[in-house]
Symmetry: C2
Subunit: 425 residues, 2 copies
């Protein structure tokens, strides 16, 4: 056993990804999962539904970094276009065989689906055998749908293959099975005891964090590595290495340089969940009032389970009338200062708090663009307000970016404003 | 000039993508853009911020399909870790040079940013020259931030490179410049006159559409190709080929097989925008009442500009109390039948319509999971209701998938219910 972490490559198949009908969502999910397993993902390859291209992607070229694990997604369906399994068999030199145990499970799934859409039964049945066919020696995984994924154990010196169905929920389900299997556990253990720390930072740009890091004299190496990444205005600074004390010392040094900006340590929960936990600790509830974000903040707050303990609801007030009727914002005020203003943001938050009887309320109103900007209030101008038993806060921001970016970032700012206000008292 | 479309490869750089901190969003955007330009994207490669790996990805191996266009994203920043330009220079055998015209623009941007965050000025300035350095002959592009992307013209027989900054809004801005440049226009024209048709389908599974396609006797070839892809319950069936009459005939044959299911032709606008256009045509407005989706439907409705013409707002009623206080759903009813029920969905929609004075209202209430399911109402059970001048509709669905899938799919069903009701009268 070496102290070097196992390396993985990911091959994602699907014409729909290359034609722009669907945005890949597998790479981010599996990258995060592999990080948790202490396996280094070295590259991702997205290829079309084409036998030769899939096979070429599976056989890594001499110029590419060697890996101990290849994960393949997609192309496990019942039709003749689904040829991933055949490509895996070719690449690994294994014979294909119908697995009677898998066939039984696939048929049971088909029958279960059949109860719901009887007309599909015949079509599904035709592909049964195909979906239960896999390379010799495969360890197959419980399917959420009708496509069982599988693991091919590479042994100590070989390459392990994990083959997963393409639909996102099926892929995630099958992966949860795969990561529990011996070959994956063994690959995860190869890295030896690696220590990883995570600082989450709010309120400084990435360049400032980089400068702090440079000032420590740190240089990335095999023993210790730092990654800084920005997401919706948050920074995630991760330090990992083989020497736990050294990692901790570097983290302590960095944290000392930004005492007010680090808001979470070794905690990957989305900011909405951190805010929720703080609200629960106080027995408080939160309400939302959204204009330009149209409900996205409510969507963020309810993305995880259990939000009902601290989030009762909110208002989407996209028009003047809705702001007046639902939140009691005065028409005079709207006409005098406009919907995108400090006064209206505060009035929206107060209105939401009063009407839902919540302890805290947060409001967002802005110009998300691409049109609607003026010289005084250009696209990207957003006013946010929070009201709480700790008092009120307002912030005006002006941010670059397209409509989706402005909306996403506005939600992040709103959540951090709530967090900061909660932290004060 | 051949009739074969130009082929492109995409190389996305960034440790944060491989470590699972960020989900790639470039591949879907650029895939769609390339399709619009009649350029075939043949593969996508995601690699870390490592000089050797970027360079290896740029030099395509013998086993990979040759391409006429390589698009590279990321690694154009001011620090020593940003080495994409160096790798491009190496791969193309071109010398690096500081471009005084680009330097001037970068410095102007720095000064503009500097007005906002004075402390950053010095740091940004240090990277100025680096960001204005590019391979000889580069056609540089207006930067949204401080990193100008650029195009390297491959000429008639060579490979054209498009190099774009990594932050999503900067990438999209630079791409809009790149696609207007001569080399890209020329590559787009290589495909000759290609005809593409798109049918969007709702209400049948992908397998049923495949069966219809098989019944036509169609076989994919260079002259005509069909892609079917499922997204949030919608199917997108695209037919493209060199023979326009043949493409149209196949589309007509397919459409005849699903007369009630095709809801849009050659129209890629999101369903929310199609619904909005129908509402505008009638002079109607829409209101929303959301429980398990927490505001995501409002987020969908306002994702595009101009929704204020037909969407005034809505309610997020996550708790019993919010359903009662904001929408007037009776406490007795909630206690008798539960929040996830036909009766409550209808009452929510009626309440939202009355309180916002809208013509149409749609409500969603369900068990998104992963907890909260019961034998009677398992996870994935969602009740939806629409009220309108055309009458009321209710639907109960039970869908597989994780929390995010159930929520996303619920929004799609809600939008299609509104569309169907509008189509009726």
């Amino acid at each position: 056993m070496t102290a070097r972490p196992a390396r993985a490559a990911l091959v994602i198949t699907g014409d729909e990804l290359l034609r722009g009908f669907v945005q890949d969502a597998h790479s981010g999910f599996l990258a995060e999962q592999l990080r948790d397993q202490h396996i280094d993902l070295v590259d991702v390859h997205i290829v079309g539904d084409d036998f030769a291209k899939i096979e070429a992607a599976l056989r890594r070229d001499a110029g590419q970094e060697p890996v101990e694990l290849v994960i393949v997604s997609g192309g496990l369906g019942p039709t003749h276009d689904d040829r991933t399994t055949e490509a895996v068999a070719r690449a690994t030199g294994r014979a294909l065989e119908v697995r009677p145990d898998a066939l039984e499970v696939v048929e049971a799934r088909i029958r279960a689906f059949g109860r719901r859409t009887e007309s599909e039964l015949e079509l599904f049945a035709a592909g049964n055998r195909k979906q239960a066919t896999m390379p010799h020696g495969a360890l197959w995984l419980d399917p959420l749908g009708t496509a069982p994924g599988y693991v091919l154990d590479g042994g100590a010196d070989g390459v392990t293959y994990v083959v997963l169905p393409g639909p996102p929920s099926e892929l995630r389900h099958a992966w949860r099975g795969a990561r529990m299997t011996g070959p994956l556990v063994e690959l995860g253990a190869r890295g030896g005891a690696r220590h990883e720390r995570l600082l989450r930072i709010w309120g400084i740009p990435e360049s400032a964090a980089s400068r702090l890091l440079d000032a420590t004299g740190h240089v990335d190496g095999d023993d210790r590595r730092v990654t800084i990444c920005a997401r919706d205005g948050e920074l995630e600074l991760s330090v990992r290495g083989t020497d736990a004390a050294g990692v901790d010392a570097l983290v302590a040094q960095l944290e000392a340089g930004m005492p007010d900006e680090v808001f979470a340590r070794d905690d990957e929960r989305p900011i909405a969940q951190l805010v929720g936990a703080e609200l629960v600790a106080r027995g408080w509830t939160l309400a939302t009032a959204e204009s330009c974000t149209g409900g996205l903040l409510g969507g963020d707050l309810t993305a995880g389970e259990g939000a009902s303990a601290w989030y009762h609801g909110g208002f989407v007030t996209y028009s003047y009338e809705a702001k007046t009727e639902l939140l009691g914002v005065e028409t005079d005020l709207l006409e005098r200062v406009g919907a995108v203003s400090e006064e209206v943001a505060r009035a929206m938050a107060r209105g939401a708090r009063a009407r839902l009887g919540s302890d805290v309320a947060v409001a967002i109103t802005g110009v998300a663009g691409p049109g609607g900007g003026t010289e005084e209030k250009p696209v990207g101008t957003v006013h946010l307000a929070v009201v709480s038993p700790n008092g009120e806060r307002h912030r005006q921001i002006r941010m670059p970016g397209d409509r989706a970016t402005v909306r996403r970032r506005s939600c992040a700012v709103a959540l951090h404003m709530v967090r900061e206000l909660l932290a004060e008292g």
